[in-house]
Amino acid sequence: MAAALEVRGVNKRFGGLQALDDVNLTVEEGRIHAIIGPNGAGKSTLLNCFVGRLKPDSGTVMFHGQSLLGILPYQVNQAGVSRVFQTPEIFGDLTVLENVMIPALAHRDGIFEMNAMKPLRRETDIRKEAVDVLEDIGLQDKLDMTASSMSRGDKRRLEMAMGLVQKPKLLLLDEPTAGMSRADTNNTIEVLKHISDTRSITMIIIEHDMHVVFTLADRISVLAQGHVIVEDEPENIKGNIKVQEAYLGGAH
């Protein structure tokens, strides 16, 4: 299978801290790839290098043959990479439907469109796309709700809808179940499974919860102190001694 994302020799240093140390990673198309590791291992730093928030000191990040380095967040998005944030990042003052229509418009019209005289309610196609995705993700009863008044779990689902409506080639999920109850976590797992089964979207999941990782991931990379110590199938990761050391503090 072809590689969707190829990360080669990525280094990132913050002052005296080597946050990322020669990271190599290949994410295959249509797979769910999990990145796990203890706190401070560099997971979020790595993710930020994919989306234009951080620029690595050296190395390459190629997405379907296009470099993701040195371009701005909205260019990364337009290249087909959507991100779901660790703490839900939504447009709190707008309605749920509007929150999903914005990325849908961005996907259709690009980074800027001067459509100041076109009534929004005539954008029936965009509206339908947004409603379809919201139905798919189970938020169809909350279309006109103000986004900020939703529960945390619903906000997270809204963010996934915002990503999905753009039909991304790659969906980045930063700890999608952080701070969720067991029930919400299971629900999120179901949603992600459903997404993966119904659409051929490559996903990268950063996650602490081992249950989530082992249920969903096709492949797992373990990051410790900025370095990928193991990359393998989930069954092989479970019994890996290096992983246990990294998590139990043996690597310190």
Partner: protein, 389 residues
């Protein structure tokens, strides 16, 4: 209707009705009554209501939708005014070219200032716009005197070229007009003890303001308007959504700058005079007050805010001590003196004090401004009646 939803069309027609009937509605007190003092239905003031209404509606497109608080929008009003007077001097005394060119000049000027100021956001953006406006004010008052007339201001003169007009043989400076209709002309109607003044200039302002208001509604309800709201709500998220926020904010800035220029052009169409003080920071602050008072981000709020402030400025400021004394003369001597002493600081030259108190009350108790407050009240009553059912 015309691309407006039913609710918006009703709102627009409601405003149209208010504006058309304003000469009657704003003169509720008989001429000979003591309360005639509070009548606001004279052309000069009514024109101001609408002109500052346009200014505030445009400002709200920037501040209300994107949340970028400009403290320098008076610079665009001033630039529009100067451009307008120059057109009246050079081209023709017909106000149409003046109004159009004012809008365009302010648009170009705001493109320049917006391009630079929008490199920063928040307080830094506000400070940058304030700095640019104060620079413009200082330049207009000093170095640019040949263009702006310096501290005396710029006005039309007898020997202006006016290349499109026939030679002026009247010996008087011509008054601004629109295809022969002089702006200052009025038709007065007396009904009983009431006097209503229907002024040509006022109805030109009304026409322009209704178009400006219509465009503002369309912008509010467009995908573009939604993006502007998204910028206010979460600017960073928008860029991770594949949108470049910069051109959106710049477009909003230029549109609001053009509204300011339009207001400036109308001002000189009503009274062909422009001075540097029109660009001063107090003038920029005034439009911020109007917008907040009426309701930030609401469609009609800024118009009400503009009306309220101009009403205070023109009506409350005219109340003097002797007038107060006649009003309270029915009270016993000592008491009336006391009442007058208590009230006096709040009227006349003290009108700012009253305005300040009103502003504080609105900001504390009605965070959504007057219109936000009315909406809240409406919803409360509506919900209560729902519960009763």
């Amino acid at each position: 209707m015309f691309g407006l939803s039913r609710g918006d069309a009703v709102l627009w027609l409601f405003v149209l009705l208010l504006v058309l009937a304003a000469p009657i509605l704003l003169n509720p007190f008989p001429e000979s009554s003591a309360l005639a003092q509070f009548n606001a239905g004279y052309p000069d003031l009514m024109q101001r209501f609408l002109i500052f209404g346009i200014f505030a509606v445009g400002f709200n497109i920037l501040f209300g939708l994107t949340g970028y608080l400009s403290f320098g929008h008076a610079a665009f009003l001033g630039a529009g005014s100067y451009a307008g007077v120059w057109m009246l001097k050079l081209l023709t005394i017909n106000v149409l070219p003046a109004i159009i060119i004012s809008t365009l000049v302010a648009g170009l000027f705001s493109l320049l200032i917006g391009y630079i100021s929008l490199r920063r956001s928040g307080i830094y953006f506000s400070i940058l716009t304030l700095a640019f406006a104060q620079m413009s004010f200082a330049l207009a008052a000093s170095v640019l005197t040949p263009i702006t007339g310096g501290e005396t201001g710029l006005q039309t003169a007898l020997n202006d070229p006016r290349i499109f007009d026939a030679a002026n043989t009247t010996g008087n400076i011509p008054a601004p007009s629109l295809f022969g209709m002089t702006m200052g002309d009025s038709h007065q109607v007396a009904v009983g003890d009431w006097l209503w003044t229907f002024n040509v200039g006022y109805y030109l302002c009304a026409f322009v303001m209704m178009i400006a208001f219509y465009i503002a509604i369309r912008i509010f309800r467009s995908p573009f308007g939604m993006m502007l709201k998204a910028i206010k709500s979460n600017n960073e998220r928008l860029s991770y959504t594949g949108i470049n926020p910069r051109p959106y904010t710049l477009a909003a800035f230029v549109i609001s700058g053009m509204y300011a220029g339009l207001a400036g052009g109308l001002m000189v169409a009503m009274d062909p005079l422009a001075g540097a003080e029109r660009m001063q920071w107090t003038a920029s602050g005034e439009v911020v007050l109007m917008t907040i008072l009426g309701g930030v981000g609401t469609l009609i709020g800024p118009v009400f805010g503009a009306g309220l402030i101009k009403y205070f400025e023109n009506i409350f400021s005219k109340i003097n001590e002797s007038l107060l004394q006649t009003w309270f003369s029915f009270l016993p001597d000592g008491v009336s003196d006391f009442v007058v002493t208590v009230i006096y600081p709040f009227v006349g030259k003290g009108w700012h004090l009253t305005l300040g108190l009103v502003f504080m009350l609105v900001v504390i108790f009605l965070p959504g401004g007057l219109v936000g407050g009315i909406n809240g009240l409406y919803k409360r009553i509506f919900n209560k009646s729902n519960q009763a059912n």
